[in-house]
């Protein structure tokens, strides 16, 4: 029989790893939604980012160039999304699905043309934080991961700070709540939304990179497997707040790693039920919490200055 300490450490360090791509993508999505733009193309942006990062890292051997590539393609996807939703004032749900399908198809096409088969790279190595990684249990759970895992968790307080303590954050929130008022005070709604959507694209791209060159170190067609849609759900779950998103990502990942362990420990529960657990739990918590908070008032509403 395995010691309980070992199981707890195993479950929790799995949770941290599983939560990483969700955090990048969902924090990015939070920026978009706080400014009033729903981006359903996250999964497609992640796939393009995952491929770009993998391909560049694979051909150049430089992981940071891979991250840069993910940032660039993510920004381009974000730019296109911004043009469609801000300038063309398109219906955001539909155009987001369009971007998802574009990313899915394009990443497959590029994979086939440029790689042809599944290859591997040596991804970011685990980076043990001095002293902290030596703390019993805690060290192994939190401080023995690769750098992109730390990046995802650092992003949460940074996003919180931007939203709540900076003028930029105030502008983003006002544009998402009342674009007419923001506009009359001289805030450019279009510029703020361009900024948030491009940032969301970049973070989705990096989310993909965290999978393809840090956590999994392979690229496989449709490797995100709908993870980007869960990230969008986590933004609602987290009530459009950075730490709320963190809580959601951790809960979802925790239950997911718990079900993996339950199977290994031969806990008599049907496999199908175990696999459903994270989704069921997320829906239950969503129903219990979301009714209490209000989404940004201008979410999904295009802004027309009327000039």
């Amino acid at each position: 029989m395995m010691s309980p300490e070992l199981i707890i450490v195993g479950v929790l360090s799995s949770t941290i790893r599983l939560a990483t791509p969700y955090l990048y993508a969902a924090i990015g999505e939070t920026f978009g939604q706080r400014s009033g733009v729903l981006n359903l193309g996250v999964d497609g942006q992640m796939l393009i980012g995952a491929f770009a990062a993998f391909y560049i890292a694979f051909t150049t051997g430089n992981l940071w160039l891979g991250v840069l590539a993910a940032v660039i393609v993510g920004a381009l996807m974000g730019l296109a999304m911004a043009f469609v939703s801000v300038n063309l004032q398109a219906e955001q749900g539909i155009s987001g699905i369009g971007f998802y399908l574009f990313g899915l198809g394009m990443s497959e096409l590029l994979f086939k043309m440029l790689l042809g088969t599944v290859e591997t790279v040596k991804g970011f190595p685990d980076l043990e934080i001095p002293f902290l990684s030596d703390i019993p249990y805690i060290g192994e759970i939190f401080f023995q991961h690769n750098i992109m895992v730390y990046g995802a968790f650092l992003l949460v307080p940074i996003a919180w700070f931007i939203f709540n303590k900076t003028t930029l954050g105030l502008k983003i929130r006002s544009v998402g709540e009342n674009p007419e008022a923001a506009d009359s005070l001289g805030v450019s709604v279009a510029r703020v939304r361009y900024f948030t959507i491009i940032l969301a694209g970049i973070l989705s791209g990096v989310a993909g990179a965290s999978m393809s060159i840090a956590l999994l170190n392979v690229f496989q067609q449709n490797m995100t497997s709908g993870l980007g849609f869960i990230a969008v759900a986590l933004v609602y779950f987290g009530a459009w707040r950075a730490f709320g998103v963190l809580a959601g990502a951790l809960l979802f990942s925790f239950v997911n790693s718990l079900q993996l362990w339950m199977q290994v420990l031969n806990i008599p529960i049907s496999t199908e039920l175990a696999i459903m657990l994270p989704y069921i739990l997320t829906i239950v918590v969503l129903v219990l919490t979301v009714s209490k908070v209000r989404p940004p008032s201008a979410l999904t509403k295009p802004f027309d200055r009327g000039d």
């Binding site: 195993g10 539909i94 155009s95 574009f102 086939k112 993870l227 199977q263």
Partner: protein
């Protein structure tokens, strides 16, 4: 404005189609359709280069094409990444309409579509795998069926795995507990337990054929639980192979050779060679029989091949035990319980 958006969405959809869907066909040039040219179309759930299920079929078709005399004698077209069954059904119907001699629906999920489509094209032969159901009971005569006794290679992998495991703990990463994957895992567990009754084989079903991240985390879970040998089946295991390599634990592959992913730690692979079944189907089609037979590839008929990584130094006694298992399965002295 709305119109422009619509155009954009359509454009995006069109690009998607190029990426994974039926538009993509291997030999783009229209070879002159002579009477002797045999035309095969195959619809697959993942990519032809997935190092797993889909690739095993594509490799077999290429081998047959070679045998028959190259691209002039046999045309192969494929639709890959057809995880949406509706899209697959449309592709099956398209290929049948275009007059392909043999349309292969390479995925158990395509069965009900095939049952609907096949009767509309009595002159076209269809093949469906992995299953043994040719719909002959429903009065359909133009469907072949094929499957692999994947428990056989699973058993052999299990024998080697249990012999090499020092910890006595082995981890299995599976997709959904059904069909081919379920057979493989049952065989693997039986082989491991027959070799070392004290071995612990932990099995993890992740509920998906595509979730690379969860497959990789399942592998991490096994390693944390003390496993020093891992195996897994279906195309999402590529992530798990990476985890095995990182932790220096051994890996056993199935469906196609996965040695190229991690040449240091892959010990052996069960490789499917569908040519045995395809050869017979093509012969029958030539004689005017379009279906009704089910084929099973096995170690005995050469459809299942054990492929060893030459870079891995397998101890001689272990190799001998594996060979004995292969012989035992072929001569019937080893019976693998799969129910």
């Amino acid at each position: 404005m709305k119109k422009l958006l619509f155009v954009l969405v359509i454009l995006a959809l069109a690009l998607t189609a190029c990426g994974g869907a039926p538009a993509e066909e291997a030999p783009a040039e229209e070879a002159p359709a002579t009477a002797e040219m045999f035309k095969v179309a195959v619809i697959m759930p993942s990519s032809i280069t997935d190092l797993a299920f889909s690739q095993s079929m594509y490799d077999a078709l290429l081998a047959i094409q070679e045998e028959m005399g190259g691209e002039e004698a046999m045309e192969i077209v494929y639709s890959e990444g057809m995880f949406v069954v509706d899209d697959a059904a449309a592709a099956i119907r398209d290929y049948a309409t275009e007059g392909y001699d043999l349309v292969i629906a390479h995925g158990s999920q395509y069965g009900s579509s095939l049952q609907e489509i096949a009767p509309d094209f009595p002159e076209t032969s269809f093949a469906w795998g992995t299953t043994l159901n040719t719909f002959s009971e429903e009065g359909i005569t133009n469907v072949f069926a094929y499957e692999a006794d994947s428990q056989e290679g699973g058993y052999v992998n299990g024998v080697i795995a249990a012999s090499l495991s020092e910890a006595g703990v082995i981890g299995v990463v599976g997709p959904i507990e059904a069909g081919d994957a379920s057979l493989y895992v049952k065989g693997f567990v039986a082989g491991a337990e027959a070799t070392n009754p004290d071995v612990t084989v932990n099995v993890n079903w992740i509920g998906s054929f595509s979730d690379v991240a969860l497959a990789s985390e399942a592998a991490n879970t096994h390693v944390a639980a003390g496993a020093d040998v891992l195996t897994g089946t279906a195309q999402m295991v590529v992530g798990a192979v990476g985890v095995a390599e990182e932790n220096g634990v051994l890996w056993f592959g199935t469906q196609s050779s996965q040695t190229s992913l991690a040449p240091d730690i892959v010990v052996a692979n069960q490789v499917y060679d569908w040519t045995v079944a395809l050869d017979e189907m093509i012969t029958l089609i030539g004689e005017g029989t379009y279906g009704g037979t089910a084929y099973t590839i096995t170690l005995e008929n050469g459809g299942i091949v054990m492929d060893y990584n030459s870079a891995y130094d397998l101890p001689e006694d272990v190799k001998a035990a594996a060979d004995a298992a292969v012989e035992g399965i072929i001569d019937g002295s080893i019976v693998i319980p799969v129910e």
